[in-house]
Amino acid sequence: MKFSGNRFYIESYTKCANCGTLVYDDSPEDKARKVVADGATYCSQWCVDWAHEREARRAAAPKT
């Protein structure tokens, strides 16, 4: 999705690749917390770690 600088026609946020929280371009708080990892935007380091942990856990789980 492309974003409009004037906020008239498209929202000025992206979604965290893990938890789906809105990460606003103009929010200083969001900017300070967000992390770009594995080619995706995450709202925080917690989400990067959670996604990695989940992936590892599910990969290790026996297939049913």
Binding site: R7, N18, G20, D26, W46, C47, W50
Partner: protein, 567 residues
């Protein structure tokens, strides 16, 4: 903490919220407000954290913090002035679905912004492709009514006329909408006035300190409740039928509940990609469902505020059925997918918290919506009607019969009001015998409402669920009964489904069916699942069920070994 002052302030703020709700109920025009009470009223602090709320619609309560915070990221607090009122209904910006309109008003004390009064209400008619706002066949947001990003509907106490004109030009019932929107504004006006009084009485610093303590108190109590649960990862799967577009495709919900000390993480990863039809939940809905599920399992006396939610994290991957991306539709996510998410979380926790969960409930608000031009008044009417379902049995009690699905907490509109306001005659309204799942504690019963059309044409749509997949039982309990929607056209004796009569893809989600004078519609709502082995149900309870008509003698014999002779 000063517990005395904190408790007095908490009770005062909750009373203000309740009074806001009563104002809304008494001054609104639609049955969805003044009968069903499909709204909630609350107060927020400067950060958008909910500090008090009245006990109206829990689904909206859980969504409130995200709603206000999202708005404040687009209209910063620095741009707010005394007398402003913000309106917002955008599902992609923290909203729940297009009908859910959020109003909030900044509270200024001596020129300083101190917090917000908030009212969220379900507007019955929002434009879009079908009267009543629930288009069971919508494939994009633009068919679901007018989408309103955060805008000022009032500026410094004056109506923003341009916004009003846009709002009212895009709906079928502008007179009624005007009254309902005014009622929501009256609610936030009252909340603002009430909180100003609180600040004047106690002083700025006392209120701030005690509100901060109150949130901390709720957080600590919630963490203690969670810590009492055993650490672990608790998974559960469920499935949602169809999306109104493809009748053969069904949508899995996957939930993992992680309990880690005093925190809970609800991870929906693995749930289906977002659907083409309107069963997608928004981020606000997925978050609210998780919050409310935890509230259901914990001490009800913990003050309801954002402090309760601090120990809960929600992982709702974007582009899925639990976190819809623009421009996919989402109107049914709030009413249908929300209760299914809650049910899945309760199901996940059943092994470790068996006394705090219930078997599956009907999990649909039935959402029968309709509109048309009244033959007598020549005015357009529209109605959002919700119906009750059976709730699941619990380890200590049978399920409730015929009440609104979980976290709706709405009242069913009385038949007399329904007939007075809309051109239907309700010919019968009765519980469905045997619709409660068998169990040591039986599931609650669904019911059947039969209506006769008295207008030349009423255009009907529906977004319901549980026509295909029955509500599950727990701990050996049986399934509850499924729902159905049937039509009997004038001059015919047989009852048929929407696909059979109108060629619709789904029996449960459809749009714009023309019901004509003399046609009948029958809404059958699902029952709840049973809890525990039916063999453990007391013979007295079974005999009472048969005597009072909840269970037929044949079903009692089949499930419980009942002897019609009373032995």
């Amino acid at each position: 903490m000063d517990f005395v002052t904190m408790n007095i302030l908490e009770s005062t703020m909750v009373s203000i919220c309740r009074e806001m709700g009563i104002t809304l109920m008494k001054t609104s025009y639609s049955t969805i407000f003044n009968e069903a009470l499909d709204f909630t009223c609350g107060l927020a602090d400067l950060n958008g954290d909910m500090i008090a709320v009245a006990d109206y619609c829990p689904a909206q309560i859980g969504g409130m913090p995200l709603l206000v915070k999202s708005c404040l990221k687009e209209i910063p607090a620095s741009e707010l002035e005394d007398g402003d009122v913000i309106l917002h209904n955008d599902p992609y910006r923290g909203g729940l679905h297009t009908p859910e309109h959020t109003f909030f008003k900044p509270i200024f004390v001596s020129g300083e912004l101190v917090g917000y009064a908030v009212a969220i209400g379900h507007i019955a008619e929002v434009g879009g492709m079908a009267p009543g706002g629930f288009c069971g066949e919508a494939t994009e947001i633009f068919q679901e009514g007018l989408r309103v990003p955060p805008v000022k509907i009032k500026k410094r106490g004056e109506d923003n006329i341009e916004v009003w004109k846009l709002l009212l030009a895009n709906v079928r019932t502008p007179r009624v909408n005007y009254g309902d929107l005014r009622a929501l504004i009256a609610a936030v006006d009252l909340g603002e006035k009430g909180m100003r009084g609180v600040y004047e009485k106690y002083g700025l610093e006392t209120v701030r300190r005690n509100v901060s303590d109150l949130l901390l108190y709720s957080e600590r109590r919630m963490r203690a409740e969670i810590e009492a649960l055993p650490d672990g990862i608790y998974p559960f799967s469920d499935i949602i039928e169809s999306d109104g577009i493809d009748a053969e495709r069904h949508y899995p919900i996957e939930v993992e509940v992680h309990v880690r000390g005093g925190e809970i993480v609800v991870d929906y990863t693995g749930s289906a990609p977002q659907a083409a039809g309107p069963i997608n939940a928004t981020l606000g809905v997925a978050t609210s469902a998780a919050y409310n599920a935890v509230l259901h399992m914990t001490d009800a006396s913990i003050p309801r505020n954002s402090g309760c939610f601090r120990p809960i994290r929600v992982v709702a991957p974007p582009g899925t059925i639990v976190n819809v991306d623009f421009p996919a539709p989402s109107v049914g996510g709030n009413t249908e997918t929300h209760p299914r998410l809650v049910g899945a979380i309760l199901g996940a926790m059943a092994p470790v918290a068996p006394d705090r969960v219930m078997a599956a409930e009907g999990a649909t608000h039935c959402n029968f919506v309709f509109g048309g031009v009244d033959a007598e008044t020549q005015e357009f009417f529209a109605c959002y009607d919700l119906e009750g379902v059976g709730w699941g049995g619990r380890s200590f009690a049978d399920g409730n019969d015929g009440v609104d699905s979980i976290n709706g907490n709405c009242r069913i509109t009385p038949v007399e009001v329904y007939e007075t306001r809309f051109p239907w005659r309700i010919e019968s309204l009765a519980f469905n015998v045997d619709s409660g799942g068998a169990g040591a504690h039986r599931g609650g019963l669904g019911y059947t409402k039969q209506m006769l059309c008295l207008n030349d044409v009423i255009v009907c749509s529906q977004m319901t669920d549980r026509h295909l997949f029955a509500p599950w039982g727990l701990a050996g309990g049986g399934e509850g009964g499924c729902g159905a929607t049937l039509v009997q056209n004038a001059g015919r004796d047989d009852w048929r489904t929407m696909p059979e009569v109108y060629g619709k893809a789904s029996t449960s989600r459809y749009s714009n069916v023309a019901i004509k004078r003399g046609d009948r519609v029958r809404l059958v709502t699902p029952g709840g699942g049973g809890y525990g082995d039916p063999a453990e149900r007391s013979p007295e309870a079974v005999a009472r069920d048969v005597r009072e008509g909840y269970v037929s003698a044949a079903a009692a014999q089949r499930h419980y070994g009942y002897d019609e002779g009373g032995k």
